[in-house]
Symmetry: C2
Subunit: 241 residues, 2 copies
DNA sequence: CAGTGGTCTAGACCACGCT
DNA sequence: GCGTGGTCTAGACCACTGG
């Protein structure tokens, strides 16, 4: 808690954050240039730069070359979420992990999956359905499409001992990932597999990965809503990290 | 797409990312020290530092002083999500925003709210219930507790023209925010207010903010699952930002 | 075209925490 | 203790873009 223990770039960051929060700096206001602030805080421009860059990454300010830095429209908070591997998540709860493949076929994707993969409408891909257990209680139902153009080895892969996600992580690099979170009501099949009642809320994570613009995989990870909660902590200031 | 246009720190980052993804560097492996890598890449240590720092922030590697930098256990992806203000979210959809206060009373919090606020079990707080509309269609049901010890002005505030969240953002700074995402089935009251059927899936965002260890507010933001989807994009490499 | 942010260098000192 | 990462400086050049 020693004041001098706090790095200079955090002091600057917090100082600006306070001014923004207390309304001294309002959305749309321009803040001082890096060079000016460096003089104000008696430090190097690089130090100021880091402070403001982090504020920009966190959505508090918007930067444009030549135009300067402005306070972003209020209230847009961004936070970091971690999407863990099922196995790790289950083992972290002190349960034993087990999974079971339910389906593994080549098929032509339809609807959401088709759109997500962005393949030729007639092209087929690998479809995998599996369920993940925590101590023999269903924890996650996984439906996954894999683009065989990008990952041809998947066609002959066996998912006896390693689950599709972990196999994919080890096999195929990706350049871009998208995640979507949503809530749905379980249909008959989903609820049967997850040991729920039809209509029970599901917490759904969708993941889509690409490599250089080509889809690698699209997955839907469905969890019983009753025992799933995704957490995100965000220290806005006065802390490291 | 010009290769030379890519900053050096990103080249280093992507190079390491590729090695990790292709299994050349496996979880637990130690990677070269900053100084060594600076020589390998013929650049300053600060440049290497930035590359590795970002990898650490994104969860790909773990750093410890003296012990060095190691590849994190595979697959732990972290991504940034933005939690927008309701009003902005609704207006971004091209709809007009309107909200209505349903309840505004001083009461003793119970259950989750009590735990979240961490107040004296007998202490009362301000409870607010409101609903937010997109073009007269219910979009979000909000239940919020405000700690009056920290924000005494809330007791006399009127939420006729400004909604509780926006009022709070303008009024009270905070140092720490936590968010939780989950899926629940709507009960009778919730479904009536949101224009749904009982049992329909809700996408719930819980937000808790603190200032120096003292709770400011705890809010539950409930959305009809059928038309709510929270998105997170994450460019792992080969892109800026 | 000129001002702003974005990146980079070649040093330096310090704090932490393995060994 | 000592090696590692964490931070910082005082410069520099460049890229973008708004005026």
């Amino acid at each position: 808690m020693n004041a001098s223990a706090e790095p200079a770039y955090l002091k600057i960051k917090n100082e600006l954050l306070n001014r923004i929060r207390q309304g001294e700096l309002r959305p749309g206001d321009k803040i001082d240039h890096e060079e000016v602030m460096a003089k104000q805080f008696s430090c190097a421009r690089a130090t100021v730069h880091r402070a403001i860059r982090e504020l920009a990454e966190e959505g508090f300010v918007e930067r444009k070359r030549r135009a300067g830095t402005r306070v972003a429209s209020a209230g847009t908070r961004s936070t970091r979420v971690t999407i863990p591997l099922v196995r790790q998540e289950i083992e972290a709860r002190g349960a034993s992990y087990r999974f079971k493949m339910l389906e593994q076929i080549k098929a032509v994707p339809t609807g959401m999956a088709s759109a997500a993969l962005g393949l030729d409408p007639k092209a087929s891909a690998l479809f995998l359905k599996s369920i993940h257990f925590a101590d023999d209680t269903p924890f996650q139902l996984e439906e996954r499409w894999i683009n065989l153009d990008m990952v041809p080895q998947a066609a002959d892969a066996s998912f006896e001992t390693i689950n599709p996600n972990e196999w994919l992580v080890q096999t195929s690099p990706y350049s871009e990932a998208e995640h979507f979170f949503s809530a749905e009501n379980a249909d008959k099949e989903q609820s049967d597999l997850l040991g729920l009642n039809t209509g029970d809320a599901l917490f759904v994570i969708e993941r889509r990965t690409h490599l250089n613009g080509n889809a690698i995989t699209y997955a839907r990870l469905m969890h019983p809503g009753a025992n799933y909660r995704m957490a995100a902590k965000n220290f806005s200031f006065s802390t490291k990290n």
